[in-house]
Each structure stands twice: as structure tokens, then as C-alpha cells.
């Protein structure tokens, strides 16, 4: 796929392949914050149960409930990529978008009063690059079509339970 695709994109994800290397967090925070800064990464790897590592990041729901919930119109949708864009100057860090998100995916910048949401790196997602370089292929950039993307917006606990069940079967009750 060429570097800059015309039209909106999506990051397809296959969570159970995640090794937990967190190179996506490293790449994201270096790109956006110029530091290796895991908590300021827009994609975060959760490991609530050992072995059950997975990236948690925006899915760009078809109806963008976060954008609708913002009381100060700090969020908008990029026409080029379909990403949710945060106007850092306008954002009041109220957290309404977190509650509106079915997967509670947005989180606060740890040092500044603003929300962090994946902006798809303007069409060239850094996390996808490092994930593919490593051959994990958890993440893949695809053209955005007309699918129920919102389905993938799940809370970390929900994802953990499903993945842990897949991995550990009936033992899951002891860990989650």
C-alpha cells in the first residue's frame, strides 16, 4: 500500500498476535511527543493478565460518539483520513469523550490538560510500520470502507476476558 493513500484509512487489528513488545507505544510517543513516553502514547498496550497483551486505540466509530459528546467542539473528524482530531487549545480535559466511547479508549495526556486520541498520523500510522517491521502484523493499514468499526471499541477488561479465554480456556476465572 502506498505511503499516503487517498481517502480515509483504518487500522485493521488482530489482537491475539500481539507480543507485547510495545514498539507501537515507542513509535507513537516519539512521533507525537518527541520522547519515549508510554503513557502519552495514543496506542497503549494493556497486559492486565500476563501473556494477554493487546493494543488499545481508537477505532473511528461510524457515528463518532466522542465527537458528539464534546461540550466545546474540540473534536472533529479528518476528511482525509477519518481520524478524530483534537484541538489541543480548545480541549478542556473534561473527560466526556472517554465516557461516550464504548471502549473508553481516549485518555488524558499525563502532564497536560488535553485528551489523547489516535490521529492516524495523518494517514501514515507509525505504530503499523513498527508492528510490520517486526513481523507481528497485529496492525495493518487498510482503506476505510463501510463496516461496523464501532464493534471493535471495547473496554480493556472486556478484551482481556475474551483473549484470556481464548488463550487459557477454563483457567481464565483464576486470572481475570
Amino acid at each position: 500500500m502506498p505511503k499516503k493513500e487517498k481517502g480515509p484509512i483504518w487500522i485493521a487489528r488482530e489482537l491475539s498476535k500481539c507480543s507485547g513488545c510495545r514498539k507501537c507505544e515507542i513509535a507513537c510517543s516519539l512521533f507525537h511527543e518527541k520522547h519515549i513516553w508510554p503513557e502519552a502514547s495514543r496506542i497503549r498496550v494493556f497486559m492486565l493478565v500476563p501473556g494477554v497483551d493487546f493494543p488499545h486505540f481508537c477505532v473511528q466509530c461510524e457515528d463518532y460518539p466522542c465527537v458528539q459528546s464534546c461540550p466545546v467542539n474540540a473534536l472533529s473528524v479528518s476528511k482525509e483520513t477519518g481520524a478524530v482530531l483534537v484541538d489541543n487549545e480548545t480541549c478542556i480535559a473534561c473527560g466526556k469523550c472517554i465516557d461516550a466511547c464504548p471502549g473508553r479508549i481516549p485518555h488524558m495526556h499525563p502532564k497536560e490538560k488535553r485528551i489523547l486520541i489516535c490521529d492516524l498520523c495523518d494517514g501514515d500510522p507509525q505504530c503499523v510500520k513498527v508492528c510490520r517491521e517486526g513481523g507481528w502484523n497485529v496492525l495493518k493499514k487498510v482503506s476505510r470502507g463501510d463496516r461496523p468499526y464501532k464493534l471493535y471499541s471495547r473496554k480493556p477488561e472486556e478484551i482481556t476476558r475474551s483473549l484470556a479465554l481464548k488463550m487459557y480456556g477454563e483457567k481464565v476465572g483464576e486470572f481475570v
Binding site: 513488545c21 510495545r22 503513557e39 502519552a40 498496550v45 494493556f46 500476563p50 473534561c94 488524558m108 480493556p156
Partner: protein, 627 residues
Amino acid sequence: MILGYAGKFLEINLSSEKVKEVSFDDEVLNDYVGGRSLAVKILWDRLGSNWENIDPLGSENILLFLTGPLTGYFPGGRICVSGKSPQSNGVVGSTVGGEFGVELRCAGYDGIIVIGEAKKPVYFFIKDSDVEIRDAGHVWGKDAKQTVRIITKECRDLLKKRFPLYGEWKEPALLYIGPAGENKVRTAVVAAKWAHAAGYGGYGGVMGSKRLKAIAVKGTGPLPPVADIKKVERLIKVVNDNAYENELWRRWGTGAGGYEFGAKTSSEPVRNWQDEWHDEKSFGVDQFENKVWIKQSWSDFGCPTCCLKIAMVKNGKFKGAITDNPDYEMQAYLGTNLGIFEPEENVFLSSLIDDLGLCGIQTGNVMGFAAELFQRGILSAKDLDGIELKWGDVEAFAALARKIAFRIGIGDTLAEGTYRAALKIGKMKKTNVLQYAVQSKGIGIGAHGIRSGKDYPEIFSYACSVQGGDHTSTAGLPLDSGGSELMEIFNDSGVYCNFNSFGIPRNLKFEFYTAVTGLKLTREEWCSSKALKVLQLQRAMLLLGGPDLKWDPKIHDANPPRFYEPLPSGPYKGKAADKSAVDDYKRRYYKAAGWDENGIPKSEILRKLELDDVDKALERFRREKPL
């Protein structure tokens, strides 16, 4: 301030429950970098004058958790655990993989210094600069998996409650002990995740002696700023690309070793090292990969290699057992060394060892030792509390491991580690059993034998190491070569995983250090002054030893007697270490390290390295009659 450091260390006094921040002068950080080297410096400064009287399992010992400037930057995050070792009575820099070091640095600290001893079980919860000493009564006695579950949930609930607007909180990173650590077992580990462990040194027992069950840390800041981030990014890419080329290493990690080190290099412990060769294809890596690995790649922070796998037994008697890999050391020590050659049984025993908080290497070493004594009729089933400790009987070994972790019956003796157990059993049975103890200076030998000459350690590597049998810190010559212990000191002081440095250009790690800290450091300077200084300090504290045991270089700078017995089978049948060659190497090593013919660091080198106080402390060893 030197770049690449958070600049602060936490010092937590468990006796007074006081927490303070301390820092080290630039000069100290310049000389001692971090991790193992800094640990050695801190321990010498604080305990050196009274070293021989410090009980490693007593309240005066200091327990250290130290990162280095490369932690989080060099791919493969680790943390170095140290203190006075209850195994060697010297100092071991024991590292463990995971996110703990990164979280700690993101919280604003380069390390944690724990002193004193708590009155009741506690754990630390560190969230950036907020440090809490919390009650751990409800997790005391819990196994690894339950400890991780309970503390992870508790800390995340606290974060949610305290910062309701933040969004979802990721888990904090965790270091903890299992029941073995709580019971001050000398072969207990400090663990991370479920099956990651700082094993060598026995610091799980030190943590338990302080009644410290766990440390949880969540840091929300960035890693400390570096001198040249663009260069760091470029170097990370070189390390990654190198690792990505190594397909089989990535696919199997060390998991191929269980068969290969036996069948090919003939250097794998089999039945307490009575042999080092086997051709058991049941233990081939394909058997692990196809039967029990449920996650093919599992990595720690920033790691391109992912040598870890997750194994789970899904059927049969051992259904539900989960561990990582098992890696080569666990395949060997909880497999072949005990006569076990079935992956499922190996996974089961590894999983149990994780749950109990034991070190698979040291515990597999002492259990193999006990099994040989049983084989020879020196220990009876009665001596072993009714356990028929037959080779290959995984359930017998599991029963014994439980006794060790809880110090029950014979377990109490074996919980002292192989060397101390051998002394005790020897006395009890009025016979010398040290000849069956495969260890060096209180530390069981890693699963890489020297007899065939085909594996990486050389015939003097364990005998001359300042960390005894530790296979991750073996002595080599010349001192500035890749196989030298001085290079291991660099890995353990920058604190990152050396597995990602295999095959990278020779000077890359020093370039990496410069890009992070802004300080020039060449390999020559490292080997001729800085690391050499650390080596002398470790040697000095090892020789001072005490209080229960001391090492005499003439007797104890030695291979286990077993390594002089000819290999009984395989392609290298008949090969053994040659005593005169070992002695010759020892002389050369002593000379290169600046030690006299008795193995005592000479005044000359100590004064040159500005270690005058060490020189003074060792003076009486030189006055004593030549050995």
C-alpha cells in the same frame, strides 16, 4: 546532571516507614553507570566496613532495584536486583525482564534502595512521586499468579478512584515474591509477570526477610531525556534490524536448547550432571512448539526478539499448567537434570516453580543433587520425608519443591541451596557429599557445561567469576574480549537484555551509551578502568563473605568436582576438564585481573583504581600464610 537519568533514587526504610529521595553525584554515575556497578558501589560504601558481619537475610542488608541509563532505550527492558547475596555472601547483579525499569524511570526514579525490615508484610505502590507502603497481609502466602492478580487489581482500582478523569489505567509493573521468598529460601526469586525472574543471588529470600511482598509502579512521565534522540532512534533500529534477521532465535528463543545442548554440544546437565549428553527427541523444540506453546512470541518492553513463549498443557494429568517457554535453563534444570524428558512434565514443574517463587536453576540444581544422593543410597526415602526421589518422577520432584518453598522437613535443608545443604547433609551422614554438589561459591552452575569444550563457557569461566555459577556472568580472557565478565558488567549496568546485543557491531553498545548520556566511553576505558573497578569490588566482597561462610580462593575458585569426571557417553565421551589446564588459566586470569597468586587483588591495582579502602580491607588476607 548527566543525561539519560531520572536523577533521583527512592530510599525506603521499612523499619521506620520513612521514604526519602536520594541522588548520586555525576562523578559516581559517570564511574558506576547504574544497575550492577552502582549496586556494588552502594553496597561497598554502606556495608563494606562491616561486610563480614552482615547477615544477607537480616535487617541490615540492603535490597536494591536499579535501572541504568539504557533501560527503556536499548531494546529489551530489564531491572537489576542486588544486595548482599544469601547464596554467595558476595554481591550478584541479578536482572529480570519486563516493564518495571521503564515504569520506574517514567515515575522519575532510577532505582529503589530498600533498607531495614517491616514489622508485618507490606508492598509498595509507587505512582510517580507518590510512594505508599501498603499492607500485604492479604497477599502473604499467595502464589505468583494470585499475587499478580490481586495487586494488579488493587492498584488499578486505586488509580481509577484517585484519578477518575484520566481514562482507563494500564496495569502498573510489578516485582514480587512467592511463598519461597517469604520463607527466606536461599533459592527464591524476585519475579515479574508470571514466570520472569531475577534468580541468581537469591534476592527473593532477602525481600522476604524484609517482609516486602511486592513493588508496584506506575510512571506517567517520559523516559529521561537523552543527549541525541535521533542517534538513539537510529541505534535502536540497528539493534532491531539485527534481531529481525535472526529467524530461529526469534522463533524458538532458547527453547531449542533442551535438545540441542544435549545432543549437539553435550553440555546439558543430565541427572545432576552425571552426564551432559542425551539424544531424547521427545525434548526437541518442535515438541514444545507444536504441543504446548500457546503464544509463539512474548516480549518485554521494546524487545525485537521475543525469545519468550507461553506454554500451557491443555490435556491430561498436568492440564492447566502454564509457564513461559520453558526456556533452555528451565528445560535443563527442571527437565533433563532431573531425568525428565517430556515437555508437558517440564511445563508442569516450571509452572509450579513459578507459583512457589523458586528459582528453577538453583532449585533444579539442589533437587538433582538430592536425587543423586537418593540414587547412591546416601539419602533414603525416610530422610526425604517419604519421597522416593527417582529420576524422571516429576511428581516426586514437585512434592520436594513444595517442601523447599515452605521449608518443611528435608525441604528446610535443601532450601539452603546446594552448597549449604551439602555441608549439612555431609555432617548428618558423616560423609563428604560435596563431590556431588555442582556449584561454585554457593551458586549452582548454569546449564552450560565445560567438559565437551563445545559450549561457550571456558574451563575457568565459573571458577573465576565473581558471581560463581551464574551462566550470565562468566569469566573470559582477554579481559576486553566479548566473552569477558567485564562485558557482562556493562549489560547489567546499562541494564538491558544482552540477548538483543548478539551480533551487533562490537562498539555499538558504547555508542548507545554516549548517545543517551552524552558522555564518551570507549570499550578500552570500560575494560581497563570502570568495569575493572567493579570487578575488584565484587571480588573483595566475595572474599570478605560471611557471616556463615567464607571462600578460600585456593579451595573455592574451582570447578565442581564433577567437571573432572569424564563424560560417560555421547560424541565427547571421555572428555573432562583438565586440572592443570584449569590451574594454568586461573593463574593467567589472576594476573590479568591484577590479583596475586592466591587470588587476592593486589595493592597495586587497587590503588591505581583509587580503591584504597578495599586495599586496606584485604590487607589481612595477604598477611595470612600463603595458601
